[in-house]
Symmetry: C2
Subunit: 276 residues, 2 copies
């Protein structure tokens, strides 16, 4: 593991690190905020998965999460959204290829050699971070934005018992039925749509739900609301009586101004579960 940068931040440390990823077949970069408390004891962790076009950096510099994580004594992990670099397949569209991994393990050419974001986040990166930092991986929660909200919800519901709470900002909820999803799931996973269902938060919510609290925030002026299909998640969660706080925030859009506004609520929400 290489240290790219470390900056003092809210009494703790904001680091950026890279490492040779076996599952992604190349160098991967991630951000990690460690609160001051980690000097004494392992701290619980909150994952933040980012949206289309983002790297590890966007949320790290724009979401304002470190303040609240420092207050709560929680580590923040900011993974990248895809493998990158020369030799890694890409597409000219902003919503496919590098910056758009969609948190799946690709099985189709040309994506399958590197695009293994599911395994990377479910197995490889948590193992590395547990090994290298003072974190308590018995206490993990997860959140994300847009495509990253999709990732957070699908990881949380599939990896039963892994995460104590899950939240999302304007998540992609029903990718098997949206232009933000069908194109990517088809490209990465192929035409057999039965392989897609474990990557659809609304279908997972209908099928199994989440064993813990769920918080969802979306702006009423979100310019991508039709693509996110929030209503499918709301319906499925309501029908199964899922413990959930589902909020439509008046006037907010899809931007980091929206995310930063409600970040304190999300970190506090996760802290309650992590310290329960």
């Amino acid at each position: 593991m290489k240290t790219i940068s470390e900056n003092a931040c809210f009494g703790g440390k904001q680091g950026v690190y890279s490492h040779a990823s076996e599952v992604c077949g190349g160098e991967m970069t991630f951000g990690l905020f460690m609160p001051a408390e980690a000097e004494n004891d392992p701290v619980p962790v909150l994952w933040f998965l980012s949206g289309l076009t983002c790297t590890h950096e966007n949320a790290m510099v724009k979401a304002g999460a470190q303040n609240w994580a420092a207050e709560q004594g929680i580590a923040l992990i900011f993974p990248d959204t895809s493998p990158r670099g020369t030799g890694v397949a890409n597409d000219e569209a902003y919503d496919l290829g590098q910056g758009a991994g969609f948190y799946v393990d690709a099985t189709e050419a040309p994506w399958s050699p590197h695009f293994k974001m599911w395994s990377y986040l479910a197995d490889e990166l948590p193992t590395l971070i547990e090994d290298q930092f003072e974190v308590d991986m018995e206490r993990q929660s997860i959140t994300g934005h847009s495509m990253g909200g999709h990732g957070a919800l699908t990881l949380a519901m599939n990896l039963e018992g892994r995460f104590r709470s899950v939240s999302a900002f304007a998540p992609i909820c029903n990718p098997t039925a949206s232009d933000w999803g069908r194109k990517q799931l088809g490209a990465y996973l192929g035409n057999d749509e039965s392989t897609w269902t474990k990557h659809d938060a609304a279908l997972l919510m209908k099928d199994k739900g989440f064993d813990g609290p769920v918080l969802i925030d979306t702006g009423t002026d979100d310019q991508f609301l039709d693509l996110l299909k929030l209503e499918t998640l709301a319906e499925a969660a309501t029908k199964r009586r899922q413990q959930m706080n589902f909020r439509m925030q008046p006037g907010y859009d899809h931007s980091y101004f929206f995310i930063s506004t409600f970040m304190e609520d999300h970190v506090t929400f996760h802290a309650e579960a992590l310290y329960a």
Copy 2:
């Protein structure tokens, strides 16, 4: 004035606007955060002047100031750091020309036709903002980072009675004696160094001081400390018994991670003066 973007943010609105600047001879862009309180009454304003290479955008997306400004009911103005565009002089160096206006009115070629950031911030932009938004320009305070800390301190001390309080993050304090300053003041103002002194915070502090509270934060690990010459400001302020809180923050560097960490303190500090 043109609206570039407006996003809901912490109950208020983060806008980006551009306008034809008479003094800078071209289009200028600025960010403006208006808290919810502005819907009822004019609100006090806090200026944030940015550092080298920055635009109106850096602090707006990375400093986390809107949260605290919303709490205090204060507007935030994020001006650009120089004129820009084709037809505007530039230099290959990061610290001269576009992105490096140094908050002076250039008198020398090739800079003098456009580089009038002093007049822009002292006169033109406040007049425009007072005219277009629900702000109370009787209640203004000012802060900034690095080159912008220099701008904040020099504007505050020169424009007596204009600002109720001034603060700075890692400000350039003594540009007439630093490589961050001599090059630029020489290029913009010429070789007669008597014209430089009104743009040197340490000299101004020695000569006249500031009629109000001053807050300065700098990291002990700031990689540019030798260029900032904080000690000259500390000495001058101490000698004249200036009301001041001058803090060296252990382990922090020059980055926005440092700025965001102490932004709450700065906004709270200014709020006390603005609502006194």
